[in-house]
């Protein structure tokens, strides 16, 4: 009996460890909460690396981006609304980059839910997306974020002490670059 219990315990421990990444969060991370642990590859493209204030290779976590606020768009190249909003999200990037007061304080990234590297590149090329996009081919990040529908926006404030919290999130309903930037500035306390 003891032996069976011993083996059962080992099996449960192993299964919970090995299968952990596949477990889905049952709801998206909420305002005020921290992000789930999301590891992304440091971009090979030096412009993108510089944009995010990263160096070297390997993985990084979103709060390591050298900025005060990160806007994350969870998108898919297969999602009609993401496609429709793409020019407006590009415009948001340009509004930020062309404003010296906020240029280095807000960064924008996209995560392609269920998209391979190839598929993300097709999206990037089709819409001339100027900010870094990352594939999430096996939906790991999408699951960790509560399997949200797309496009899904999260605004993350990075504090001086290295902690962070989500200050805004929304499903779709992208209002256009200017209203969205206004919303980001207010929610993050940059304004």
């Amino acid at each position: 009996m003891k032996q069976i219990l011993f083996y059962l315990t080992i099996m449960i421990l192993l299964l919970s460890t090995l299968a952990f990444p596949a477990l889905a969060a049952n709801k998206p991370p909420q305002k005020g909460e921290a992000l789930p642990v999301i590891s992304l590859p440091i971009p090979k493209n030096s412009d993108e690396r510089n944009y995010l204030g990263l160096s070297g290779s390997g993985l990084f976590k979103i709060p390591q981006v050298k900025t005060k606020v990160v806007i994350v768009e969870i998108f898919s190249m297969y999602c009609p609304y993401c496609q429709k909003d793409a020019p407006g999200v590009n415009e948001l990037y340009r509004l930020i980059e062309n404003n010296p007061d906020i240029k280095n304080k807000i960064k924008l990234i996209g995560i392609g839910a269920g998209n391979s590297f190839y598929e993300v590149e097709v999206y990037k090329k089709t819409y001339a997306v100027p900010f870094p996009l990352f594939p999430d081919k096996d939906f790991t990040i999408h699951k960790a974020c509560g399997e949200v529908r797309t496009p899904y926006f999260m605004v993350i404030k990075i504090n001086e002490d290295g902690t962070h919290q989500i200050v805004h999130n929304q499903l779709g309903n992208y209002p256009g670059a200017e209203p969205f930037l206004e919303l980001v500035l207010k929610a993050s306390g940059l304004k």
């Binding site: 190249m77 269920g114 391979s116 598929e119 779709g172």
Partner: protein, 202 residues
């Protein structure tokens, strides 16, 4: 003996965890709002192919959502052809497949290929469903009546009357050069299809 048992247990657990880790998730565009019917996880493949690579592709004539009927033979000698069967309108993975092809028109053009989307749904259903995808550049054909006849001829009609999630690539001579009867629960990666088209030119 005990060590061997423990090793076997670890092996079994690792294999089990691999199955648990298989992604079954899919991203649903907000474009469809709450109108997607959740089908759950289905038997990956539920039909037996009746064609193979190297065969002449069986011809068909099907009605599109709008315009004249489309036949496969009308592209003979002119275009490579990709047939994309998807199981059903208003279901999770299908709704997030063709919108991706819709922004890949340049790549299809690069390989001199036309895409034909096919489901066993009727035309009004296809009309309402594809309207959510934006303006599609490729014809969407209805294999509704006789029900699923083309899917059946190719051997991709499932036992419940919907088709598999299947891709067929035909060259300009009408010969089948690529077949992917995909796990119905997953979307085929775009690079696999484009890799097959690229090979046609070689």
């Amino acid at each position: 003996m005990q060590k061997k048992r423990l090793a076997n247990l670890i092996l079994i657990t690792v294999v089990l965890s691999l199955f648990v880790s298989i992604p079954t998730s899919f991203a649903i565009s907000d474009a469809y709002k709450g109108n997607i019917y959740q089908v759950g996880t289905l038997k990956p493949i539920d039909s037996k192919l009746k064609v193979k690579i190297g065969d002449p592709a069986p011809n068909f004539i099907l009605p599109p959502i709008s315009g004249e009927k489309v036949s496969l033979s009308q592209f003979r000698g002119k275009k490579n052809v990709v047939l994309s069967f998807v199981p059903a309108a208003w279901t999770p993975v299908c709704s997030d497949q063709w919108p991706g092809y819709n922004i890949a028109k340049d790549i299809f053009n690069q390989y001199d290929a036309i895409l034909l989307g096919i489901t066993v749904d009727n035309i009004p259903t296809l009309f309402a469903w594809t309207n959510q995808m934006g303006q599609l550049w490729f014809p969407v054909l209805s294999d509704f009546w006789p029900h699923g006849a083309v899917a059946k001829r190719y051997g991709v009609l499932r036992s419940n009357g919907v088709s598999e999630r299947a891709l067929f690539v035909m060259d300009k001579k009408g010969i089948i050069r690529y077949i992917d009867v995909h796990d119905i629960n997953k979307r085929p990666p775009l690079e696999d299809l484009m890799g097959a088209l690229e090979k046609l030119g070689k």
